[in-house]
């Protein structure tokens, strides 16, 4: 299936985890890549803690966290850390809020910064954004970031997404189609989080149900355990075995004829309705930084489904086909 991933300093552990699971290797995932090298690499704290099969000190939510869901304190902390290595005087008195025009200018600078970094396939690291662009405006990082995201969406059709809260990594991803955007906006309870997408892609790539043990192997790498409460997701086990199931995103069934009892996950009817296989391929491509065609049979399936959908909806917009990118 997927050959060795590109050697990027990519701390996105979901990639390694999914990779190992897809090869059905029991248990231990492949060597975990170190956190990104950067001039600010000497940060103390979670970013540099060795991340591996042993649980990291702080639970890390998986990719695809929406920026708005993130606890602002965590961002603030990251911004603080981003400044930690600079020669700093002791805490200064609260500066006056900048003029709106200055924040707008910072948003434009950040927009360009993000575009160039992405062009160079470089990691978008939040502390770097603070250090390199926002500087003394770091207190207004949220509003700057929000404005930048808006501009990128409106003008470039790109979403600036926080893909890994643990490592404060962002990514520029192609925007959803207008229909999806509306759906996400209208239905806030829709748990289009990386957690669900990860489980769905695991199932999809396997081509059959995913055993609960396999799912937990994947989630464990990100610091999610069945018995541990998570700051955003709470009781993760309850979330995936009950809530997602009640919402019909997942099916959770006993594996027949197995003792002691084991359970496995399947796509739920709602996932089948709302999520396309092509979206899963795009998610995988993002996580692995590969072309979706690295999973040829799955990709073919996704194409088939996309074609069937198009034929069923001839009046709709010509579908955005991410694979025809130059």
């Amino acid at each position: 299936m997927s050959e060795q991933s590109k050697d990027l300093s990519d701390p996105n552990l979901a990639a390694e985890a999914l990779n190992s699971q897809m090869h059905d290797s029991p248990g231990v995932p492949a060597g975990v890549p170190p956190p990104p090298e950067s001039p600010a690499a000497t940060l103390g704290g979670p970013s540099t803690a060795p991340v591996g099969p042993t649980a990291s000190p702080q639970a890390a939510p998986p990719p695809e966290e929406r920026f708005e869901d993130i606890d602002p304190k965590i961002l603030q902390q990251a911004a603080e850390e981003g400044r930690a290595h600079q020669p700093q005087s002791p805490p200064q008195p609260l500066p006056a809020p900048p003029a709106p025009a200055q924040l707008v200018q910072k948003a434009h600078e950040l927009m360009w910064y993000v575009l160039v970094k992405d062009q160079k396939r470089m990691i978008l690291w939040f502390p770097d954004m603070v250090k390199d662009v926002m500087g003394s405006y770091k207190k207004w990082c949220r509003s700057i970031l929000r404005r930048t995201s808006l501009i990128l969406a409106r003008v470039f059709g790109l979403h600036l997404r926080l893909t890994n809260l643990h490592t404060m990594e962002f990514a520029l991803v192609k925007a959803l189609s207008p229909e999806d955007l509306d759906r996400v906006a209208l239905n806030n309870r829709m748990p289009m989080t990386g957690l669900l997408l990860m489980i769905l892609s695991l199932i999809y790539v396997k081509g059959r149900g995913a055993r609960e043990s396999a799912v937990w192997n994947v989630l464990r790498i990100l610091g999610l355990r069945p018995w541990k409460k998570h700051s955003t997701f709470g009781d993760v086990r309850k979330l995936i075995t009950e809530e997602f199931v009640q919402q019909n995103y997942l099916k959770y069934q006993r594996v027949p004829h197995v003792e002691p009892p084991e359970y496995e996950f399947f796509w739920g009817s709602r996932a089948r309705r709302e999520i396309t296989k092509m979206q899963i391929m795009e998610f995988l491509a993002r996580v692995f930084r590969k072309d979706p065609q690295a999973w040829p049979s799955r990709y073919r399936e996704a194409l088939e489904e996309a074609r069937a959908l198009r034929e069923a909806n001839p009046a709709a917009h010509c579908p955005r086909s991410s694979v025809s990118d130059d």
């Binding site: 003008v155 470039f156 059709g157 925007a175 917009h317 010509c318 130059d326």
Partner: protein, 281 residues
């Protein structure tokens, strides 16, 4: 600068925009175009046309493809408030039109700061100065590498510096020809303003288009300089080429005007139209 070799396509403040009559409307066609133009960094005109057609095909199969100039002006009218722009330029050696999305706001080498470390940026600065100072617009690898000790930031050895120079070539900031380096068209597009402001005494200007000149031909009598594509256009139908400034006989070989049609016939490969050697001063 007047409309020169490097200028924006049309005028950004021209609000005539797209063929629909409304200005500054961004659709998914334009967005995808921008995304992909940004991904590629710099594109030649035929690639830009192909890209435009691709974006129409993907998003709006039935619409007529806008004229490229209008299409780009439309996008630029939206980009204006963001201080970025799709800029059109012409390569100095053989007059090919190129396009790049450039940032107008920052006017320093730190434009590239997102890509490179401090010492690498300084290496570029040193190479840039050598290129601008040189007669031919080229700086030799040896001369650049000899400055490695003077670089700011982390100490860099010559071996590393060689690799950094290759990085610049790959990122299309520099062009290498036979061990010598000059500025890529993309770098000129992005940095012209900065270069003119920073090196006002040593910078060279084309007598015809009044834009920044790195490579070109010069009059041996009065010293004025012209870009090769500008020479080609200016002397196109001249039986006896003469310097526009001092009227002395123009001693250099006159290059051909870039013809995209001929390019396609030749199979589109750059090497099939061996461009004139540029060192003719």
């Amino acid at each position: 600068a007047t409309s020169g070799v490097f200028s924006a396509v049309g005028a950004p403040s021209n609000m005539q925009g797209s063929s629909s009559g409304r200005a500054g409307v961004m659709t998914d066609v334009h967005r995808r175009f921008l995304q992909l133009l940004m991904t590629h960094g710099v594109l030649e005109e035929w690639e830009v046309r192909r890209l435009q057609n691709h974006c129409y095909k993907v998003h709006d199969c039935n619409a007529t493809v806008d004229k490229l100039e209008d299409f780009i002006n439309n996008i630029n009218s939206v980009l204006e408030s963001l201080y970025i722009e799709i800029k059109k330029g012409i390569t100095e050696d053989d007059g090919r039109p190129i396009y790049a999305l450039v940032n107008l706001a920052t006017t320093s080498v730190s434009k590239m700061a997102t890509d490179f470390a401090e010492s690498e940026l300084d290496l570029f600065r040193k190479a840039l100065e050598l290129i601008i100072d040189s007669e031919t617009g080229f700086a030799s690898s040896t001369n650049i590498l000899n400055l490695v000790d003077q670089l700011k930031g982390k100490k860099m050895r010559k071996k590393e510096a060689e690799q950094v120079l290759q990085k610049f070539v790959q990122s299309k900031w520099l062009i290498e020809k036979e061990g010598e380096f000059t500025l890529h068209g993309r770098a000129i597009l992005e940095m012209e303003q900065f270069i003119r402001e920073t090196y006002p005494d040593t910078v060279k200007i084309c007598n015809i288009c009044h834009s920044l000149l790195i490579q070109g031909q010069s009059c041996e009598t009065c010293g004025i300089r012209m870009h090769l594509p500008c020479v080609a256009k200016y002397f196109q139908s001249a039986s006896e080429p003469r310097c526009p400034h001092c009227n002395d006989y123009w001693p250099h070989e006159i290059p051909e005007v870039f013809n995209p049609e001929k390019e396609r016939e030749a199979g589109g490969s750059k090497s099939s139209r061996k461009s004139l050697r540029t060192r003719q001063h």
